[in-house]
């Protein structure tokens, strides 16, 4: 099914199941511990051995020798696979650094060996017996020092990643009110709760990988590239994924060494990356430096806006582009964005939840707050005054559906924004200074082609099979809702099976495209199945009404079960017409934060997000996506930072005690409101994702609330107390 024109009225506009709050169909498994995650699939293959990964002790250089004799002689050890002895490509086109193979060390904790033993305890202790000698090289570890000399990143078609419209310099110089500020965001870790893990088994040249991966089709292709084998000989299976946030978009060392180790051991091998290895071995969100200049008239109208961004990566590519939202969010005739990237020898940076926009909003939306104060205009009002009518950077491009102003107004009312004191430092509650902050949010709503198979099993049950993944996003349930709605059955008559590369290839989970794309793909397959049923039973499937487990056509009513066993594949593809539109999601984020006047401890009191994302397929799980993203944004604002040791080139706080993420006590009341909007440009479902929208803005709202509470502006994230407590007003 090609989606080649805006969606018209369709069955989802009168839906009984889609759009209704629905407890997750995988809930009973997840809450009873019976949902199987990658490392724990004892039942899929017999005789599993344990692999344990050894990471490089240096950040840059090469291995000169590796002595594995003692490890091999250790009790229970079956084999040891080492990087210098592996001549596989060891990298896919989607990785920024080689995962395994060869003697070169490109970053700290790069996988250099995998010990396979009968037990986990044996493999772990034998890994410590490997003796490795290195030639160390000096590396490029100091991003702030290297950033000023960094070149422009490569943008679309290899062209330098910069854009401009009008005359920024002239307009900025002439503007009545100017803001010129620089913000920094640190390297961050996905820190998903389930470590990267894989069970690998070979049967001849056929490789099966029970793994934890967000993008099954990419993973299959990438494993073919990394191993140098035909991807058609590879099967991936990831029915349950214990969190990804972008950290499991691409294959990682666990799956590659598990495959190599299983080959060498001649038996299935399971590998999980140990937590202290994850921060440096896998990917992270890159640190950024962002300079924002905004010029405005005294009435608040922006006349000039520039956003420059610096980040760094191991291959000098694929950085963290904080400017992504800036061409879209606010009006202004004269504009400029530029994205620079330094080459570093730190571990590989790659996508983490809303790559680019998440840190981008932490800069832009604080800049807007600063501008509002300079202008003496309420920050919500300032945003409303700069609401564009078409895409500001490409005025010929329309918005598919944009309701940011409604989000801001509704949020303002619900949050009690009118109680906010514009002058900072004015609200006290005992030892605490209390402030409110707001930020707007924009995240693009891309779609990807997505396929599924839908079957009838003869009993009226509908079975959906697609390689789509559920990384906590609620895919199982929205897919079941879509199939139930389209096939006219109740939810309990739908069985959803996900994550297996033997199923039709879906959009996968990433970039906030999963919900919109995969449900549309399931809809396409259901439409094909309805036609196939019609053909079999002698009616036009498109005209029949599928409801309550029955099919009504003309005067005829038959049971769905009467159609017997049938199967249909379907795929949604997206047409060219979409290019005329910017399809995005919008939010207004609010936060109230209390700051201890003595110590500077910042504690969030409440948060609100008002979201505009088209039809919300399952308000219950969509709300969870948003509150979860707000929690991650709170972490980014207040505590999360991979600390770089610039001498040795590593993230030194590489465990969950050193890298602090929010805990229960950090998160109090969170409210989410979804506007009742529909976006006919996105897909037949008129629904857009929210999983990344939720992290675009709350961090800035928190930062702005801290400023409102204290009168101290911190532009370097995370906003930890050491950066400002000495500037807090003294208490009598």
């Amino acid at each position: 099914m090609e989606f080649k024109a805006p969606a018209e009225t369709n069955l989802f506009d009168t839906a009984k199941i889609v759009g209704k709050s629905t407890p997750r169909i995988d809930g009973p498994l997840k809450t009873t511990g019976t949902a199987p995650y990658a490392y724990e699939r004892h039942d899929v293959v017999a005789n599993q051995a344990y692999g344990y990964v050894l990471g490089s002790a240096i950040a840059k250089g090469r291995i000169t020798s590796m002595d594995v004799s003692e490890a091999l002689a250790a009790p229970g050890v079956i084999t040891v696979v080492t990087s210098p002895d592996s001549d596989i490509p060891g990298i896919s086109s989607m990785n920024n650094a080689r995962l395994f193979g060869g003697s070169e060390i490109a970053h700290y904790h790069q996988a250099i060996a995998c010990v396979v033993a009968e037990t986990f305890e044996q493999a772990r202790s034998a890994a410590a017996l490997i003796r490795t000698k290195y030639d160390r090289e000096q590396g490029r570890f100091d991003f702030p020092a290297l950033a000023p000399g960094a070149p422009l990143a490569k943008g679309r078609g290899g062209k330098p990643d910069e854009a401009s419209l009008g005359d920024f310099d002239g307009a900025f110089a002439a503007s009545a009110v100017k803001l010129d500020a620089t913000y920094t965001t640190p390297d961050e870790s996905h820190a998903m709760m389930e470590p990267h893990a894989t069970i690998a088994a070979w049967e001849g040249d056929q490789l099966t990988l029970w793994t934890s991966n967000q993008m099954i089709a990419w993973g299959k292709k990438s494993m073919g590239e990394a191993l140098g084998i035909d991807p058609e000989n590879i099967r991936l299976d990831s029915p349950y994924i214990g969190g990804g946030f972008g950290g499991k978009l691409f294959i990682r060392a666990d799956v590659l060494v598990a495959a190599l180790a299983a080959k060498a051991a001649k038996r299935p091998v399971k590998v999980a990356l140990q937590r202290p290895l994850m921060a440096n071995n896998t990917t992270h969100r890159h640190a950024t430096i962002q300079r924002i200049r905004i010029g405005a008239q005294t009435d608040g109208k922006i006349t000039a806006i520039a956003h420059e961004n610096w980040s760094g990566n191991i291959n000098g590519e694929d950085g963290e582009n904080g400017t992504l939202q800036t061409p879209v969010l606010y009006a202004g005739a004269n504009r400029k964005t530029a994205n620079y990237i330094a080459t570093l020898d730190l571990p590989e940076g790659n996508a983490m939840r809303a790559p680019g926009e998440a840190p981008g909003h932490m800069a832009l939306e604080v800049a807007m707050d600063e501008l509002a104060e300079k202008l003496g205009i309420d920050p919500i009002e300032l945003r409303i005054r700069n609401e564009p009518t078409s895409v500001p950077s490409k005025p010929e491009k329309r918005f598919s559906d944009r309701n940011l102003v409604r989000c801001l107004r509704e949020g303002s009312q619900r949050f009690g924004w009118s109680d906010r004191q514009a002058e900072p430092g004015k609200v006290r509650d005992g030892q605490w200074l209390v402030g409110m902050g707001v930020a707007a949010g924009y995240r693009a709503a891309p779609t990807m082609k997505s396929a599924a198979r839908v079957r009838l099993d003869g009993s009226g049950k509908v079975i959906v099979e697609t390689d789509m993944t559920d990384i906590g996003t609620g895919s199982y349930t929205i897919i079941a809702q879509t199939a139930a709605e389209t096939m006219g059955v109740s939810l309990d008559r739908v069985v959803v099976t996900l994550g297996d590369s033997r199923f039709p290839a879906s959009s996968g989970s990433g970039g906030q495209w999963g919900a919109a794309s995969s449900t549309a793909g399931v809809y396409a397959a259901c439409v094909n199945l309805r036609r196939a049923i019609g053909e079999k039973m002698g009616f036009n499937g498109d005209d029949a009404v599928f409801a309550d487990g029955r099919i009504r056509t003309g005067n005829q009513v038959v049971d769905l079960a009467d159609a017997g066993s049938l199967s249909a594949d379907g795929e949604i593809t997206f047409g060219e017409f979409k290019r005329g539109y910017d399809v995005g999601t919008y939010a207004a984020h609010f936060a109230e934060v209390a700051v201890n006047a003595y110590t500077g401890e910042a504690r969030i009191r409440r948060m609100l997000a008002v979201c505009d994302a088209g039809r919300i397929l399952n308000p219950l799980s969509a709300r969870s996506q948003v509150i979860g993203a707000m929690v991650m944004a709170a972490g980014a604002a207040l505590m999360e930072e991979l600390a770089v040791d610039k001498r040795f080139g590593l993230f030194i706080n590489h465990d969950l005690a050193g890298y602090e993420v929010p805990v229960h006590a950090d998160i109090t009341r969170q409210d989410v409101v979804f506007l009742d909007t529909l976006d006919p440009i996105i897909s037949p479902m008129k629904a857009k994702g929210v999983g990344e929208l939720g992290i675009c803005g709350p961090g800035a709202a928190i930062a702005n609330a801290i400023y409102n509470a204290t009168g101290v502006r911190v532009r370097d994230y995370p906003i930890t107390l050491d950066k400002y407590f000495e500037k807090l007003p003294t208490i009598a």
């Binding site: 906590g472 929690v631 229960h664």
Partner: protein
């Protein structure tokens, strides 16, 4: 700028003379030195019998002494509902209830639990017969990816017992007072269970409902 080969080690602090190259030269070599310092490296692993009760059923195992309670459950008894998130007591995914008290099963050797009574998520309820806390987590969507969820639920069940028993918490203004089931209490007490998906506020609501309390 290569700091080659074996690296000199200073007994005192790494003295950096203004350039990072100097610092590099003072790094210790890795791995091998530690290995050499440990004569017991290839000693055969010590195995021991251990017997305890899991979810009401007696189990007897002979285990490498190094086996944690967590790995005994997951790898030997195939009770994989209990999760390994960090293996270092930093996340709470491995929470189980031993002799009525919640602990991190990753930081406990199986052999320490001779004669103990262990309850895991599998012992609380099944998909067909959910524990009220499990049902409340489903109703309030108190999870997303599901990986921390069994630990959250075991912790939540134990937390309500702890409050009942009067165990104090950091959330109390008056440490001598009897604690009550409030949002603040629950959030503080549940803080040893990290949820990176950020389901915290839903989890708090699920626990409050199970406790029969109002927010």
């Amino acid at each position: 700028m290569n700091g080659k080969g074996e690296l000199a080690v200073s007994r005192r602090g790494v003295i950096v003379g203004g350039t990072s190259a100097v610092a590099l030269a003072s790094l210790p070599a890795s791995g091998q030195e530690r290995a050499q310092a440990q004569p017991s490296a290839s000693m055969p692993p010590a195995a021991m019998p251990v017997a305890f009760e899991v979810n009401g059923a007696p189990v007897e195992l002979t285990l490498d002494t190094r086996t944690t309670l967590l790995d005994a459950l997951r790898e030997h008894l195939k009770l994989t509902g209990t999760k390994k998130g960090c293996d270092h007591g930093q996340c709470g995914a491995c929470t189980v209830i031993v002799n009525g008290q919640r602990i991190n099963s990753c930081l406990s050797l199986a052999v320490q639990h001779q004669g103990d009574t262990v309850k895991t998520i599998e012992g609380l309820g099944t998909p067909a017969n959910l524990h009220p806390m499990q049902a409340a987590f489903i109703k309030h969507d108190g999870y997303q990816c599901g990986y921390c969820t069994p630990g959250q639920i075991c912790s939540a069940v134990a937390v309500l017992d702890e409050i009942k028993a009067g165990v104090p918490s950091h959330a109390q203004d008056d440490i001598t007072a009897k604690p009550r089931v409030t949002s603040d209490e629950l959030r503080e007490r549940m803080s040893g269970n990290i949820c990176r998906c950020g389901a915290y506020s839903n989890i708090a609501e699920a626990i409050l409902e199970t406790a029969g309390a109002k927010a």
